[in-house]
Amino acid sequence: MTQFTMENVRKTFTNGEVQEEILKGINLTLKEGEVTALVGASGSGKSTLLTIAAGLQPTTDGQVIFEGKNMTTLSADQVRQVRASKFGFVFQFAHLVPFLTVEEQLLLMLEVSESPLKKHEQQREVERILKLVGMDHRKNAYPSSLSGGEKQRVAIARAIIHKPKVLFADEPTASLDSKRSKDVMELIRNLTKTLNITTLMVTHDEEMLMYTDQVIKMNDGKILQNVN
């Protein structure tokens, strides 16, 4: 059932002659259908941990095991393929493609993930996911005409349209007001449960922890506390 583990992960940045260890031997297990939150002060290493887990930067030492494979030994293109087909991303800002409609944003993700679905099936899937995030009525809208909350909903739809195994969310509610933050977190939690996704999220907002199954508190590159 467990599909994502990190074993003794270390990350050191070198700035001139100065070496700074950001992650000091992290061990972590993520479970299917659960939302895990990474919390901690600025500079505690939580964002670095998330980006390493997501294959966006390499480790200095240690292993990232996903579906039985050590991701740290894969080539850059193999990591890209894993990101495209098995991972989903939601960021602080929606980062939608400004010249694509809501519907096209999702179709692009299906293309990037090399979805085996036929054209009409893709269309049907897009409509289903848009309905799931409550954005089906805006499928022909461009990002410039959407509100912040609507953009983030579309970003979430884009992150799950290709049925990823793991969803990475870096401060997904940081640019939203309180009400919209709650809506988005409810959505992430529901999708995690409904689609049986593994979700790893970085957040500063303690109010959002009520939507998570596991909270990992970090300090100075180490896991301080792991609360289920």
Binding site: Q57, R83, A84, H95, F99, L100, L107, E111, V112, Y142
Partner: protein
């Protein structure tokens, strides 16, 4: 999904502005190239229309054809060895038409050859541009250094030399006007530089054209303008896409983070470059052909299909290089950069 066309459709104004600049630059390039070709024909059609081969002039002439004198024994030796060879001379001069008006011409005389018009004593064959000056077949024209009169026997199309219409006359009449017995040049069609003759210097056609006063200076300056414009268009693409890419670093980073291949982003800018260039070229070629039809008479303008094709290919290659150089940025973008940036 064709991201390139979708972006162009959404940001029409931005791409129309770039396209209109490329259109204007390429139109200017075609027009200047047409003028360069036209002037080249006006300056040396007599030589350019000859087949490939070797030109010989006296090595003491210091590469100046009108100082060249080829002695008759050497000329006979070449003409007897090579059946298609022809000896000829060119001198600038003038004729008086029947109204007494002087017309500048380039007098040309040659030994028997299908490459030059064959004329008899007191006959003259003129370039057809002199028809516009009122000269007709059967008219009598004179020259102050010639005791007799020339009868206009015929006209030939597009035979110019040093921007003057060519006037073919017989060797006998030429010798009377210019008081010389020797020919200036020998031309051997299909000859090559390995055929050397004592006292003569060999030139290929392009080398010989460059010995014509003003030809190389005129062509060099026009061609320099043409190539500058081509380079400018390449730089336009590089700068335009560079600016666009700078604005889209965040977007490209996110697209890379979600797994889009870098090659797909390159294909996107190449497609946009090709669409803009092709549309701009079609418009500028059409307009340059319209210009060709309505250009003032007397303006030397010649834009051949070969030149259009050659320049169009060069524009596409330069555009491709410009767009690719700007795309090197895309290769360097790290997804992390984008995540740490704000909204695009």
């Amino acid at each position: 999904m064709n991201l390139a066309l979708k972006e162009m459709k959404k940001n029409k104004v931005r791409f129309v502005i770039l396209g209109s600049i490329v259109f204007l630059v390429s139109l200017l390039t075609f027009i200047i190239s047409g003028l360069a070709n036209g002037l080249s024909q006006d300056n040396a059609a007599l030589i350019k229309d000859l087949p490939a081969g070797q030109f010989y002039m006296n090595e003491d002439a210091d590469e100046t054809y009108n100082l060249s004198r080829i002695d008759s024994s050497t000329q006979d030796e070449i003409l007897s060895k090579q059946k298609d060879a022809v000896a000829f001379s060119i001198q600038m001069g003038f004729i008086n038409d029947k109204a007494g008006k002087q017309q500048s011409v380039a007098f040309v005389t040659a030994t028997d050859s299908p490459l030059f018009a064959n004329v008899k004593h007191q006959e003259i064959i003129l370039d057809s541009s002199l028809k516009d000056k009122g000269i007709q077949i059967g008219d009598t024209v004179t020259n102050n250094q010639f005791s007799g009169k020339f009868i206009v026997k015929d006209f030939v199309e597009q035979k110019k030399y040093s921007h003057a219409p060519v006037a073919y006359i017989s060797m006998e009449d030429y010798q009377e006007i210019y008081r010389v017995k020797e020919m200036q040049l020998v031309f051997t069609p299909d000859g090559d530089a390995s055929q050397a003759y004592t006292g003569l210097q060999a030139f290929s056609k392009s080398d010989f054209l460059n010995t014509i006063p003003s030809y190389s200076a005129e062509q060099m300056s026009l061609n320099m303008i043409v190539w500058f414009l081509v380079v400018i268009s390449g730089m336009l693409f590089a700068i335009f896409f560079y600016m666009m890419n700078v604005q889209k670093i965040g977007l490209y980073g996110i697209l890379k983070a979600i797994g889009l291949k870098t090659s797909k982003l390159f294909k996107m800018i190449w497609t946009q470059m090709i669409v803009i260039t092709v549309i701009s070229l079609v418009l500028s070629i059409t307009l340059s052909q319209v210009f060709n039809q309505f250009a003032p008479q007397g303006m030397p303008f010649s834009l051949s299909f070969a030149t259009i094709t050659q320049l169009s290919i060069v524009f596409l290659i330069i555009g491709f290089i410009g767009a690719t150089i700007s795309g090197i940025q895309i290769k360097k973008i790290q997804p992390l950069q984008a995540i740490q940036q704000g909204e695009v």
